[in-house]
């Protein structure tokens, strides 16, 4: 109720500003105009198609990043040599914003999906890798010793002790990776996509001064991000680490 009140006040302020005539109507469209555009874009399916393209790119990039991050992260935690090799590389590459690679990837792979997915991949890999690495090292040595003394070795030890033990960190890593990927995909689509995608729509609409289209896809971007954060990752957490009773260890 309270939340509704502050949103209503903000909306009223915006509406007053839009109707004041101080700014061009094309730049600051009124709320009904935005709602109408949103409705018609949803109605004829364009917004959904753009969203589907964006999601596809996010999942392709995120999937690759998760795989890379998990494999390298676990290997780094297990083998000293792997850790010694990758950890300087990670600390050198991590501070470079993924979108800085956009022009290079565009040159190498052309405008389109490959460059976009690679940018998403670059953004999402590091949180995944760092969290897997930290998580695998944070598995209590007591559990490892207990499992070993009960005869668990090799793969069994890995799947039954190390993976569940590291899972709170890994899930957090995945969540962070998604946030990064979601930011990166919007930027990447503005710079590198040739057609389709929510980021591309926003950028393309700027050329025609269609602020209502920009705001409509902004709403869509916000809504998708919210749904993932709230429902997908919330459910994932409940189905895994909360059920296994792992979250206390993560907080401690």
């Amino acid at each position: 109720m309270r939340a509704l009140f502050s949103v209503a006040v903000a909306a009223l302020l915006y509406e007053a500003l839009a109707r004041s005539g101080w700014f061009a109507a094309a730049l600051v469209p009124t709320l009904p105009a935005i709602a109408r555009t949103l409705g018609s874009m949803l109605g004829d399916g364009t917004l959904e198609r753009h969203a589907a393209n964006t999601l596809l790119r996010v999942f392709a990039g995120l999937g690759l990043a998760a795989l890379t991050g998990l494999v390298i992260g676990f290997l780094m935690a297990r083998y000293r040599a792997v850790e010694a090799f990758f950890s300087p590389l990670v600390s050198a590459l991590m501070p470079i914003p993924s979108l800085a690679w956009a022009p290079v990837f565009i040159l190498w792979f052309g405008l389109g999906n490959v460059a976009t997915i690679l940018i998403v991949f670059y953004a999402a890999t590091f949180p995944m890798l760092i969290n897997t690495w930290t998580g695998a090292r944070a598995v209590s040595p007591l559990w490892l010793r207990a499992a070993r003394s009960m005869g668990a070795r090799g793969t069994r030890l890995f799947w039954k002790v190390v993976v569940p033990g590291a899972s709170p960190f890994i899930i957090t890593g995945l969540r962070l990776a998604f946030q990064r990927a979601w930011i990166a995909v919007v930027g990447a689509e503005m710079l590198a996509a040739s057609a389709f995608g929510l980021g591309w729509v926003i950028f393309d609409a700027k050329e025609f001064l269609n602020a209502d289209i920009m705001l409509s896809s902004l709403v869509m971007i916000g809504a998708i991000g919210y749904v993932f954060e709230r429902f997908v990752f919330g459910t994932l957490e409940r189905a895994t680490i909360l059920r296994w009773g792992m979250l206390r260890t993560a907080k401690a």
Partner: protein
């Protein structure tokens, strides 16, 4: 001797990757314009630096970063403090912050460029707006996390509202505020590089690498990326770690 050995060991992966890069670049499998050998990248880096072009780009980017970050820090700390201290402010602002924070900052970029114009103004306002969110949220958490018992103790010893604020609440919330500022700076840096590509500002590192694409100047792009990475690393290591050491660590609120 020990330090030298560590440094040598850290250099190994770079030498390996560098050798691989060099091998691919020289194999002729890829056009050298798109995949320049390392010495060409280094030469470009030196040439652009000596000509003063790279420092000029970097200076303008840093200026935008500083201006945007200053806006974010001021607004974020003020809003966060207000939200932490007053119920009303919290009830009113929290839903708005909760809605705005998860939207990727770059999605606003074209809109801000329309509203504030291409160039400095749009870029600075966007960076300030986007990185104000982590500062606000962390300041709010920090003020809320100040122990009730400290407040009561200070009041019992006769501290007025003002002194309470300056000597208890601000130092108590500072570890959170600093981590919010650190997050904000990292975010501001990432956003700024991207915005400079989108906004077609005449100078700036983002523009340098994006503009170099037009001329197929991969060496300049990679040199620019190296500088961007170095600045990102320096911001993390030389700005915040000393600041933390001088304040919260020295006051014993956080272990180093």
């Amino acid at each position: 001797m020990r330090a030298l050995l560590t440094a040598l060991r850290a250099a190994v992966p770079f030498v390996v990757i560098g050798a691989l890069w060099e091998y691919v670049a020289r194999s002729g499998a890829l056009p050298p314009r798109l995949f320049p050998p390392l010495e060409e990248i280094a030469a470009t880096l030196v040439r652009l630096t000596a000509a003063g072009i790279l420092p000029h780009h970097a200076a303008l980017t840093l200026y935008r970063l500083a201006a945007g970050f200053a806006i974010a820090a001021l607004i974020g700390v003020a809003l966060g403090m207000a939200m932490g201290r007053w119920r009303r402010a919290e009830a009113f602002l929290m839903p708005l912050v909760a809605i705005g924070a998860p939207i990727p900052g770059l999605a606003y970029a074209p809109l801000f460029l329309l509203w504030f114009g291409l160039g400095d103004m749009g870029a600075i306002v966007l960076v300030g707006f986007v990185s104000a969110f982590p500062v606000t949220l962390n300041t709010w958490t920090g003020v809320k996390a100040v122990k009730e018992i400290w407040l009561r103790a200070a009041r019992a010893m006769g501290a007025g509202e003002r002194r309470l604020f300056r000597q208890v609440i601000v130092p108590g919330a500072l570890p959170y505020i600093l981590s919010g500022l650190r997050l904000a700076l990292a975010q501001a840096w990432r956003i700024l590089v991207a915005v400079e590509m989108l906004a077609a500002v005449p100078w700036g590192l983002g523009w340098l690498i994006f503009g170099a694409r037009e001329f197929l100047d991969t060496a300049a792009m990679l040199a620019g990326i190296a500088v961007i990475g170095a600045i990102g690393l320096a911001l993390e290591n030389f700005v915040f770690q000393p600041l933390e050491r001088y304040t919260v660590v020295r006051w014993g609120m956080m272990s180093s």
